[in-house]
C-alpha cells in the first residue's frame, strides 16, 4: 500500500502510521456511508486516510481535544435587525 510522506513531518507521524487496519476501516466506513469504492481507487484512498491519521495524531499530541473551545462558535441571530436585544 502506498504511503505519503508529508514534507514537514519530521516526527514521521504520517510515515509511521500503521496502515494494516486501514483497508478494514475503509470497507466498514464505505458500507456505513453508502459509498462504493472501486478496487483500483482503494490504495489511493487508503493513502489519504493514513495521511489524515498522521495529522490527527499530531493534533492529539497537543492536547487540543480537551484544552479549548472549538473555533466555530454559533451565534444565534435575531429574527430581524430591529428585534429587541
Amino acid at each position: 500500500m502506498n504511503k505519503t510522506i508529508m514534507a514537514t513531518d519530521k516526527t514521521g507521524a504520517a510515515a509511521n502510521a500503521l496502515p494494516s487496519d486501514t483497508e478494514a476501516f475503509i470497507d466498514a466506513n464505505a458500507a456505513v456511508l453508502g459509498l462504493t469504492i472501486a478496487p483500483e481507487w482503494k490504495a489511493n484512498v487508503a493513502m489519504f486516510v493514513d495521511v489524515a491519521r498522521g495529522m490527527a495524531a499530531r493534533i492529539e499530541a497537543t492536547g487540543a481535544a480537551t484544552a479549548s473551545e472549538a473555533a466555530p462558535v454559533f451565534t444565534p441571530r435575531p429574527l430581524s435587525p430591529h428585534a429587541p436585544k
Binding site: T8, D9, W41, V45, T62, A65, A71
Partner: protein, 465 residues
C-alpha cells in the same frame, strides 16, 4: 481605435474611461479579442461572456454620454473563478457534475459589487475541481497553463484567475483561497494577490469548498490595483454568517503611509526547513528590501497545517457526500480519492482540529504583539511542470499536491490577511512572498507589499536596465 496604446492597469483604465480618453466598449472589445486569440493556449476561461461584457461596457459609455456619474471601476474588464455565480451560467466549481446544474439566475454578491462599481465581466475562469487543488490542472477542462511558461502549472485552485491576469487578458480577477488557492497561483504566475481576513469579504453566491476556511479575494499586476478592487468589494452582508459586521476600511490611501512605524519580522523555523534555495534567497531579498531584521519562529505551525488539512478534508468531503455516493466516477480522479477518504474521517479528528485552531489563534495573537507584519514564502518552490506528481523538498521526494500548501495552510487556518508579492530575477521563474498581518490589518499587508513593489523585488521588467 485610439492612436495611443490602450491602458492596461485597472486604475488606468477606469481613469481613462471616466475622462473619455477611451470608451468602455473599446476596452472590452480589446480584452475579448485578446482572450479569443490567445486563450486556447492558456486555458484560463471556461465561459466567455461576450454579450454581457459588451452590454455592460455600452451602458457605461451611455451613462457617461448623458453626464452620469460612473463607478470607481468604470470599464475595467475582469473575470471570476467559476465557483462564483454568474447569471446565465452554471456554476461549475471546476467540476463536470455541477456543469449540469441549471444556469444561475443571479450573480454572486462580489460580482454584483464589481458591476455596481462599473467593472465589465468577461467570463468565468478555470479552476481545480471543487477547489481541492494546488496545481491548476483539471481532468474535465484541461489545465490552466502558466503564461510565463505554458509547460508549467499556474498553481491552484484559482489557476484560471491567475492565468487570465498574468496573460494580460484582464487587469484583475477574483479567486478564492481556502488553504492557499490565491497565494500559490499568484506566486507561480508572478502576480499580486490578496487573501483578506477570514470574514472580511462575503462569500454569498459562491460554491463552497470548506466553509470554516473559505476566503475570496483579488489578483492583479500591481499592489495599487489590488487595493483599488479590494476597496470596491468590501462591505458587510448578513447572508454569509461568517461575514463580519465591520465598516468598510479602505486601504488605497493607507498604502501611501509606507513602512513608517511597522515592525516587520521574517518567518523562520518551519518556514525555512523545506523551501528550496530560490525560495530562501527571495525571502532574504524581500526582508532586506523592507529592513526586516527580526526572525519570527512561530510555535505549532506544523500542527496548524495538520489541523487545516483535517478540517478541509472532513468538511469538504461532507459537502460532497451525496455526489460521492451517486457520481464518484464523474469526479476528477485527483480529487475523488481525497474526498472519499475525507468522508470517512472520525468526527473527533475534525473537532480536535477546530479546538487547536483556537489555540493557534492565541499563539498568533502573541506573535503579533511583537511584530506587525511577517514575511514568509508562499510556496516551497517555483511553478512545477504540468503533470508533475512529486517534488523534492528537504532532500525528500514528496507528493506535489499534498505539499504545495505547506506555507500557506497554517496562515489561512486562523484567517490572517495576506498579500502575495512576486519576487523574481530577470529570466527566472518567479517566487512568491506572503506578507502576513494581524486580523483586519489588510492595510499593513498592502503597505509592505507596496514597499516591496517599489523596491523592485520583481526584477523581470528590468532585464535590460
Amino acid at each position: 481605435m485610439s492612436a495611443q496604446p490602450l491602458p492596461s492597469g485597472a486604475r488606468e483604465i477606469a481613469r481613462a474611461v471616466q475622462h473619455g480618453d477611451v470608451s468602455a466598449e473599446e476596452i472590452a472589445r480589446a480584452a475579448l479579442d485578446t482572450i479569443a486569440a490567445r486563450d486556447a493556449d492558456i486555458g484560463a476561461f471556461t465561459d466567455i461572456t461576450v454579450e454581457r461584457a459588451l452590454g455592460e461596457a455600452r451602458a457605461i459609455d451611455t451613462a457617461r454620454a448623458k453626464g452620469g456619474t460612473l463607478g470607481a471601476l468604470a470599464g475595467v474588464p475582469y473575470a471570476v473563478k467559476n465557483l462564483y455565480d454568474v447569471a446565465g451560467i452554471s456554476t461549475r466549481a471546476g467540476s463536470k457534475i455541477n456543469a449540469a446544474d441549471p444556469p444561475k439566475t443571479a450573480d454572486a454578491l462580489l460580482v454584483s459589487r464589481m458591476a455596481t462599481a462599473g467593472a465589465v465581466l468577461t467570463g468565468a475562469l478555470n479552476m481545480g475541481e471543487y477547489a481541492y487543488d494546488f496545481t491548476g490542472e483539471n481532468a474535465h477542462y484541461g489545465p490552466s497553463r502558466n503564461p510565463l511558461d505554458t509547460a508549467r502549472m499556474t498553481g491552484g485552485s484559482s489557476g484560471g484567475s491567475a492565468a487570465a491576469v498574468a496573460a494580460g487578458f484582464v487587469p484583475v480577477s477574483l479567486g478564492s483561497d481556502t488553504n492557499g488557492s490565491i497565494r500559490v497561483p499568484a506566486a507561480f504566475c508572478g502576480l499580486y494577490g490578496l487573501k483578506p481576513t477570514y470574514g472580511r469579504l462575503p462569500r454569498t453566491g459562491t460554491f463552497p469548498f470548506c466553509d470554516s476556511l473559505d476566503h475570496l479575494g483579488p489578483f492583479a499586476r500591481s499592489v495599487d490595483d489590488i487595493a483599488f478592487v479590494y476597496d470596491a468589494l468590501q462591505g458587510y452582508d448578513p447572508s454569509d454568517p461568517v461575514c463580519a459586521a465591520r465598516a468598510v476600511e479602505p486601504v488605497t490611501a493607507a498604502i501611501a503611509k509606507g513602512l513608517d512605524g511597522l515592525r516587520i519580522g521574517v518567518a523562520t523555523g518551519y518556514f525555512r526547513v523545506d523551501a528550496d534555495t530560490g525560495a530562501l534567497d527571495v525571502l532574504a531579498r524581500a526582508a532586506d528590501a523592507v529592513g526586516a531584521a527580526q526572525d519570527v519562529d512561530i510555535p505549532g505551525v506544523a500542527e496548524a497545517r495538520a489541523a487545516a488539512f483535517l478540517i478541509t478534508n472532513a468538511e469538504g468531503s461532507t459537502l460532497h457526500l451525496d455526489r460521492l455516493r451517486r457520481q464518484a466516477v464523474d469526479f476528477d480522479p485527483e480529487t475523488r480519492d481525497r474526498f472519499l477518504a475525507g468522508a470517512m474521517l472520525p468526527a473527533g479528528w475534525a473537532i480536535a482540529a477546530q479546538r487547536f485552531r483556537r489555540m493557534f489563534e492565541d499563539t498568533m495573537r502573541g506573535v503579533f504583539a511583537q511584530v506587525d507584519v511577517i514575511l514568509a514564502p508562499a510556496a516551497p518552490t517555483h511553478a512545477p511542470l504540468l503533470g508533475q506528481k512529486t517534488i523534492v523538498l528537504g532532500g525528500r521526494e514528496v507528493p506535489l499536491r499534498a505539499n504545495m500548501g505547506i506555507y500557506t495552510q497554517p496562515i489561512s487556518f486562523v484567517g490572517l490577511p495576506v498579500a502575495a508579492v512576486p519576487v523574481c530575477e530577470p529570466g527566472a521563474l518567479p517566487y512568491g512572498i506572503q506578507v502576513i498581518a494581524a486580523p483586519w490589518r489588510e492595510d499593513h499587508c498592502l503597505r509592505v507589499a507596496a514597499a516591496l513593489e517599489a523596491a523592485g523585488v520583481d526584477r523581470r521588467n528590468r532585464a535590460s536596465a
